[in-house]
């Protein structure tokens, strides 16, 4: 499978990446190069093979339901690009 420039733009939007035209063109070439390598997977007959999500399976991990100290408001806001009155602040948009 190969990826068109239009698809690169679509995927960039899904990924919330504001790419330049130049980046879109370069990525198209690079992604196709990588996908060529990945295409080996398409040729495999994997009918009936179970997929593996985690190699070391653990199930139903429980812990006691106890209230504990979490991140403080001060720490949670420590790296905020902008903040006001204990909240994250973003620019005002629209009307």
């Amino acid at each position: 499978m190969s990826i068109s420039e239009e698809q690169v733009r679509h995927v960039a939007k899904l990924a919330r990446l504001g790419l330049s035209d130049e980046q879109v063109a370069t990525l198209g070439v690079e992604l196709n190069g990588i996908l060529e390598q990945v295409d080996a997977l398409q040729a495999l007959d994997l009918e009936g093979i179970e997929p593996t999500a985690h190699a070391v399976a653990v199930t139903n991990v429980m812990r006691p339901d106890v209230i504990r100290e979490g991140l403080s408001q001060e720490d949670a806001l420590k790296n905020a690009p902008d903040q006001q009155d204990g909240a994250f602040l973003i620019p005002k948009f629209g009307g």
Partner: protein, 503 residues
Amino acid sequence: MSAVSVDLSSLSVSRIREGLRKREFSAGELAASAFARIDAVEERVHAFNSVSRELADDAARRVDVLVARGGELPPLAGVPVAFKDNMNLIGTRTTCSSRILENYESVYDCTAVRRMIDAGAIPVGKCNMDEFAFGSSTENSAFGVTHNPWDLTRVPGGSSGGSAACVAAGEAVLSLGSDTGGSIRQPGALTGTVAMKPTYGRVSRYGIVAFASSLDQIGPFSKTVEECAQVMNVICGKDPMDATSVERPAQDFTEDLHYGVKRLRIGIVRDRLDLEGCDPAVRARVRQTADALATMGAEVGDVDLPSCQYGLPAYYIIGPAEASSNLARFDGIRYGHRGADPTDVMDLYMRSRAEGFGPESIRRIMLGTYALSAGYYDAYYGQAQKVRTLIIRDFDRAFADFDVLLTPTSPTTAFTIGEKASDPVSMYLSDVYTIPVNLAGIPAVSVPCGTIDGLPVGLQIMGKHFDEATILRVAHSVEVSTGMDAVPPLVADLGEARGTVVV
């Protein structure tokens, strides 16, 4: 401050503990020596994104109080250590070598880091890496490339290249890295250090910035196998903050190191060793090392892992797919870089992310988003997860006949800076031997097995789930029989000055 100065590159964890107990030197002097070494070589190596002098002084003071009190010292007392810059530690920035997190201050501690410091280690700094751990050379850092102490014109490998280089250069005695497809073992091989990826679930992942959650694992760099085992004793164990960490009986990984390899069944992975891209000299080194192990009493045979040929393509779907999901959190709202003057919320996201992420991060996010997007999921992610099952079956079959398996860690020795930087596919091939291990979740260690043209070669020893003890035992035998006594030229040069220094 006393005039005693210590050469860290010649001291082991055990020697440091003994020296502290006998009052040959203090933890404060050990910390000062680490920073003296950093000051002397860092301009050439650039292993660190930041150094943490205050944290180091605090930690050293705590150790010196323990020494003054007498009694048992904790296992890593006074040992200068460094951490990959994707591990949170309060009092340091955690940048992942990315512009998007350039000013990010840690607000909590990574469990593995905490355990090292609680065991008496002295944190000297945070190590350079490929941005968000995407890479095999540390060239993808937003803050400059790290140089290999064996040859400053070459890469140290990656993505944990800074963690590897600082140990090789004697700037720290130990370090931690993270390994998603080889990011500990491959730089270990390229810098002549001992480098381990533990079994998935052995070490808590709490507090590392996630790359691919089903593959990531934290592990140590050290100069010797014994020190690798000593770090494993400290960092392993269940953590309530990581639901994928596994409860296991407490174990001393140093216990079996000296048992040797007699009657141990060691499999050379023949079809992997014969890969076209593998340097014949590397291949020969691996065969020679296996011969040496046979001489020591191991039963050495050949085995094939045919499904591993699909490891690389499966990884380049699974890794980016999970990464694209994990990196969705960097949106310019709560932390990290925010683009200026956005027109609406969408524009704020698009600008913040495009400005903050470097080229390789963008490439991986794009690849992963594409693989997970409507209409492509089954063909890519679904198919890759089934290949993962086949690879696990291959390993299960091989481990029915063998206790451990051998391959090179990396198909080549350290390559030159810039050599592969412009070709993502050839860079990805650096991890051809290490990737199947992450897909199967098994443990593996890279141990130096000699040099070619003055550059170290790493042997990868792979084991069954949770059988780190056996691979460490084999690694120790390799170290004893064919291991390197060579040190990087950088360290040897400083060693001449060492003559004037009193230990």
